[in-house]
Amino acid sequence: NLTEKITDIFRNLGNKGKITEDNISDALRQVRIALLEADVNFKVVKEFINKVKEKAIGESVLKSLTPDQQFIKIVHDELVEILGSTDNTLHLTVQPSIILMVGLQGSGKTTTCAKLANLQKKKNFKPLLVACDIYRPAAIDQLKFLGDQLNVPVCIRRKETDVVAIAKEALIEANKLGCNLLIVDTAGRLHIDEKMMDEVARLKDFLKPQEILFVADAMTGQDAVRVADEFNKKLEITGIVLTKLDGDARGGAAISIKSVTGKPIKFVGISEKIDGLEPFYPDRLATRILG
């Protein structure tokens, strides 16, 4: 693993402790490979390595008694800084508050909608799930099943072909039922599908949601940067949910997504179950990414 490689590199520099820009380059190269293998985007890795190089060549590593540990600490801390602080607060300051879920196909939006409903219900919100995926076969049934499981109402309009119309109905329904939180599920869509990106932009314009959460699969590769950038440019997302972290994907996509959007990672999905949603802890993910 990376820590062992770094330790070896610094050990081979001998006991003179004379660390120079050239010696650091070997260690930096190992970090670069580790981050690329962890699926961090190559442009993000470039910037990251430059930052680490600056810090490592500085006084602390050159004079340190344990330069390998010091170097790893600089790398780890730099990752943690990019990943940001634990900010899983949802800014649900209006009544009713609205959360709009968006993302690529299969990333975990529908499941996360239900998980969020479960979470917020425990915080004494009265959620209404809104079925705005009118395309995927049985998407509405899927959300309905999850809502029923939670005893949370689901706004469904099977015959409706315009998601904004469904959203309109949902606001009326929320009022009727006394729900103070709308969680809106949308169809998975490609960031390059203009028509579908326009649809979710229209939904945003109508609903003016307090939170727009970009749901991303933790195992996403180099493409994560481009996808997140497009969604953010189009919608100005307010937060990120990283799903399927219960697998063994290193999760470097998180670094890519965070650095290109600047938006906080609010939650992580850690199982298929309804309670499988946790707040995001940057140092845990940093350790995982470094392998």
């Binding site: 995927r136 049934d141 390059i192 399927k244 063994d248």
Partner: protein
């Protein structure tokens, strides 16, 4: 002369980045670019096109023995295809597409809804079955997947069906109990019909990074894979994982998913794939 060496180095760095950004993986990318550095032709040619051509040749070398898109479905009736993969990659949708693909070549197809776990998974497959004009064998939500598979094979045999495709629940390869369950389903199939399943296809999402390698390794270990379907190639991900998949794991890519509709399935073609990497 030194000026030209610098141009080549910039070319090579740019090409290394193209490969890495396509998810080819840092090891394969570095190997190929290192080969280019040592290649006499590269140091004597100035054109980027020539270097790209050489790289394409290297990439083709890696995967040329694995592009037989033929499925092992001609010699048995019913031929059994088991579809598996991690969560959300496109298994159920791909089964709809495969149904259409087979029906277009004159085969009769039947589906088995062996994802009895996820919310509305059975309903989802059933809709694809209706759209593709075929029948779906299903039990109630929560039923035993092995029992559904058993019933489906019985029905496929009695109705003289050419191909039975079995949908399974998405599962992360790290969950040993779920991987054991999948192995048990395969065993049920095999006990009922010798030599079955005839194909065990792993569905992999093209947007996946290096974790795809782990997925293939584990599913291969538990089930023995006969092929891969690489989905969501209509996005901007290039699917460069294919090279590591074929080079190290040797599981052939059979199909590519290029959209969400019934006809959005293509037989995997090496040259088209490699050309697309550099678009």
């Amino acid at each position: 002369l030194t000026g030209k060496k610098n141009i080549d180095e910039d070319f090579l760095e740019a090409l290394e980045e193209i490969l890495i950004s396509a998810d080819v993986g840092v090891n394969i990318a570095l190997d190929i670019i290192e080969k280019m550095r040592k290649d006499v032709k590269v140091s004597t040619t100035a054109s980027l096109e020539e270097i790209v051509k050489l790289i394409k040749k290297e990439l083709t070398e890696i995967i040329k023995d694995f592009s037989n898109p033929v499925l092992n479905i001609e010699n048995k009736k019913p031929a059994i295809i088991m579809v598996c993969g991690v969560n959300g990659v496109g298994k159920t949708t791909s089964i709809g597409k495969l149904t259409t693909y087979f029906k277009n070549s004159g085969k009769s197809v039947m589906l088995a809804a062996c994802d009895t776990f996820r919310a509305a998974a059975i309903e989802q497959l059933d809709i694809w079955a209706k759209r593709a004009g075929t029948e779906c064998i299903k039990h109630q939500h929560g039923a035993d997947s092995g029992a559904v598979a058993f019933d489906a094979i019985t029905a496929a045999v009695s109705r003289n069906i050419d191909i039975l495709i079995i949908d399974t629940a998405g599962r992360l390869h790290t969950k040993t109990n779920l991987m054991d369950e999948l192995k048990k389903i395969k065993k049920v199939i095999n006990q009922q019909l010798p030599d079955a399943p005839d194909e065990v296809l792993l569905v992999v999402d093209a947007t996946t990074g290096q974790n795809a390698i782990n997925q293939i390794q584990e599913f291969n270990k538990y089930l023995g894979l006969t092929g891969i379907i690489l989905t969501k190639m209509d996005g901007t991900a290039k699917g460069g994982l294919v090279f590591a998949m074929l080079k190290d794991l040797k599981v052939p890519i059979k199909f590519i998913g290029v959209g969400e509709k019934l006809d959005d399935l293509r037989v995997f073609d090496i040259n088209t794939f490699i050309d697309a990497l550099f678009d």
